[in-house]
Symmetry: C2
Subunit: 262 residues, 2 copies
């Protein structure tokens, strides 16, 4: 099977211009078929504040009011996505910016919370792999903003980690996929020591670390989804520092943490 | 030759939700290969004001400071483009949102004014028709925001009328192109009477109207570029009201004003 890299870059990297430039160099330098998914970062919060829109967070999740949806559509779909696309094109990477609405790539359903109304947040229901494959076959490198749509004219805010895992799962019938989460840590850490990277994390070890409360709370959804992607047939999942992407995908053994079912 | 419709929709239509919805119905209802280019509208000015960024205009042209560039990237490339794309997808039109940076479709040069520094405004130097043709052949309907890039990592603000005429000119080797400018008038008017539409306007008549000062100043660049596109080989240019798009492209004779070289 043909190889495909699916790489997610977190908002904390996007917020730092130098770190972002460095990441774009790393990303553009990787050959072969690849897809990038970017997060949001603090810019949306800053813009919201400047526009007098209150950002409400519940359990680390942004509540997306109609006004907030406009801001994230502007910031994620416009400012961040196009900055990354033009930055990649300048580096010879044939990037194409997308949201789930573009070419109808990802259709989501507005989340109906039991106790909380998350607002315009979407849970992906359908990935249309054909346009994505057409773009890849045309030599393009899709760059997804964390936005989907409901197919009825409403855009929805969707977590970038989830988009990455869902795309990887949907495309693993066609491609041998490595899913890489780039963030501001060197991998999954065994302690508060930034260098305590666990090179290989099995599902059993992860469950143990989870029970012991060793893995930080913010990492749990990411890792749960990543292990689910592995179980669904994604060939490999790696978590690494954004500045070490090439070492994570071009070297053996990779830097960072490689997840493993057994 | 295969037919292609290139349609430009002005900012004044985008600013009115009902007019925009109506236009999207008209646009989605047209069969065949088509490309939409949208303008900016007042939203960017409103957002700039709210963010405390001063909008400077010279001769009806926005001066694009670095801060203004961020706002237009958000508003044109994000909010407006993705609102249109999701609205078209909801109507069964397989839209794909683009800027000139995406797939490197349009490369521009930052304008160096003699007396005025226009800031981050780009004049198109190169249209890469291959990705555009690939999208059309894949059954997609490209939707262009009025943004280009310099190929070196900088996005540039580019007039939507100019993008429409330039795309039409670049693609007329491959397609029989009808270029349609949709706006809030019924066509080119012979007087201040909104119903005084000139059904067929020849280049000689246009020159005469121009000398007499009958055509409004804001229309001149649009018409100059439109006649240049005709001279370059575009099959037809029509100017019509946004609510009458289908009557302009599906009926004979078309409503609105049809430009003609002779």
């Amino acid at each position: 099977m043909e190889q495909l890299l699916i790489i997610k870059i977190g908002g904390n990297v996007i917020d730092q211009p130098e770190a972002l430039e460095n990441f774009l160099n790393e990303y553009a330098g990787i050959a072969g078929k690849k897809i990038l998914i970017h997060g949001g970062g603090k810019i949306a919060t800053d813009i919201s504040r400047a526009l007098g829109i209150e950002t409400q967070m519940v359990d680390g999740r942004r509540i997306t009011s109609r006004e907030t949806l406009k801001v994230v559509t502007m910031v994620y779909g416009g400012l961040i996505n196009k900055t990354i696309v033009s930055g990649l094109q300048a580096r010879g990477c044939h990037a194409l910016g997308l949201t789930g609405a573009d070419a109808n790539c990802m259709v989501a359903k507005k989340r109906s919370g039991k106790n909380i109304d998350y607002g315009f947040v979407g849970d992906i229901e359908q990935v249309n792999v054909n346009p994505v494959k057409q773009f890849l076959n045309a030599g393009l490198a899709p760059v997804f903003a964390p936005l989907t749509h409901d197919g009825k004219g409403t855009l929805l805010n969707t977590n970038a980690d989830t988009i990455a895992a869902t795309l990887a799962t949907a495309l693993c019938v066609t491609y041998e996929i490595r899913l890489v989460y780039c963030f501001d840590k060197k991998g999954v850490l065994a302690s508060t020591d930034e260098d305590s990277v666990i090179p290989r994390l099995t599902l059993a070890q992860y469950r143990h670390l989870k029970e012991e409360g060793i893995v930080s709370k913010g990492m749990l959804p990411k890792l749960d989804e990543a292990f689910a992607a592995l179980q669904a047939g994604v060939a490999a999942v790696i978590l690494c520092h954004a500045s070490q992407l090439q070492l994570a995908v071009q070297h053996h053994p990779p830097v960072g943490t490689t997840l493993s079912l057994q």
